[in-house]
Point group: C2
């Protein structure tokens, strides 16, 4: 498979980090001067690279329309749904996908498990920030500023004995969530329902999506759900990869 193209992409990624001189490119990527030069020349000819004054190379404007096209086709659901399907049939419980969309966490997809639980979740509906695990896991990975903007003014309505009813408790729960890498909902909304949720990263590395497994406590209590976390993690990592997140950076 055309490794010339692969190299070109490698070069692009490299100059995307910050403006690079030709020599930097050759050294870091182990290419010969002439090779790197000619790669950059073709990229430049097609508007994928550009020389700023000083001779350093930066990414050209030609990629912008491509990115627009990519974003147009970024319907998270079409990409993730197959994973949800597989996961749900495999573990037999209901799986949710929620996404941060301008300041709100919204359910974007859902696959029911075998013993269908009638949950309050519906695709397109906002998620309760302080109870739902998907919300917690997204908030937990958000930049401080965004997070507090979302929390302030939030109504920490008490649904049951275990509901977190104030911001302070919630924030410490988020810290805990971030540290262990997943979130839980221990019957905080509906007493008899619990879930675990893991983060999904988009192409920019931000956590704007969460994926959760939900079950009746009577069917699968929290201890059981916790055992699924490793499995869930491999799925979320696959999904992140499908969404363009590359954990393997040089």
């Amino acid at each position: 498979m055309p490794q010339t193209v692969a190299r070109a992409i490698e070069v692009l990624r490299f100059i995307a980090e910050r403006p690079r001189t030709l020599t930097e490119v050759t050294q870091m990527l182990g290419l010969h001067k002439s090779t790197a030069l000619r790669l950059l020349q073709t990229l430049e000819a097609d508007g994928f690279a550009r020389r700023e004054d000083g001779g350093r190379y930066v990414v050209g404007f030609g990629v912008i329309p491509l990115a627009e096209s990519a974003i147009d086709n970024l319907d998270v659901r079409t990409i993730v749904h197959p994973h949800l399907d597989r996961l749900s049939t495999e573990i037999g419980h209901t799986v949710h996908l929620a996404q941060l969309i301008d300041g709100e966490v919204v359910y974007v997809d859902k696959v029911e498990g075998r013993g269908t639980v009638a949950m309050g979740s519906r695709i397109g509906l906002p998620v309760e920030l302080h109870t739902a695990a998907v919300a917690k896991v997204i908030l937990a990975h958000l930049p401080e500023a965004d997070r507090s903007r979302m929390i302030e003014g939030w109504d920490f309505r008490g649904y049951g004995p275990r509901t977190l009813t104030n911001a302070a408790d919630y924030v410490s729960e988020l810290r805990c969530t971030r540290e262990r890498g997943w979130a839980e909902d221990d019957g905080e909304m509906e007493d008899y329902i619990n879930c675990v949720a893991l983060p999904v990263r988009d192409t920019t590395g931000r956590v704007t999506i969460g994926m959760s497994v939900t079950a009746l406590r009577a069917v699968a209590p929290l201890e059981i759900l916790r055992e699924m976390v490793p499995r869930l993690r491999t799925v979320t990592e696959e999904v992140s990869a499908d969404l363009g997140w590359r954990s393997d950076e040089t």
Copy 2:
């Protein structure tokens, strides 16, 4: 220079238009099945392409970070300034660059000619929509909706006998501008100053930038400036190309 890379980019541009099947790619670009397939495979492996269900290829998310990088470096001035410089020394008059920035036309750069004219233009300052040629040429190429939004409520202040003092006259002037491909300011602001302006296209093909040549009527009346239009056109086309606009689409 690596034509494999050029082909890969061609393929990318093609699938960016809309989802394409492998066969479409091979036919339209005149490549062999295997060639196209392997190109797409490498692009896919690097997140530059993606297969949606149905097997059609679309642009992948990997390009999004690149585009962000490109936008970071998109300081129009650094790109265009050299052209302004050259043009100004060549023709000896003052050259302006103005850009549409959220609903306003703003001077972003300027190179003084030899016999420096003290003009009211200053970099960063908004442009008078109804008198300045740069504004006219941008407005003339704007989508109907955007244009009328900008015109409505505009104060068609009369500076002199030739100023267009109402929207109707202005709109018909814009039509004329678009048809002939350049705009004029016939002493509409300052009686003794006139200019011609041509459109510059950004990478998306939109006209958000205008470039103008300004001169004292005593030095170079409109008839003289008009003779520079062809020369000015080659410059604006170069600039458009530098900004990523590709007029040569298949």
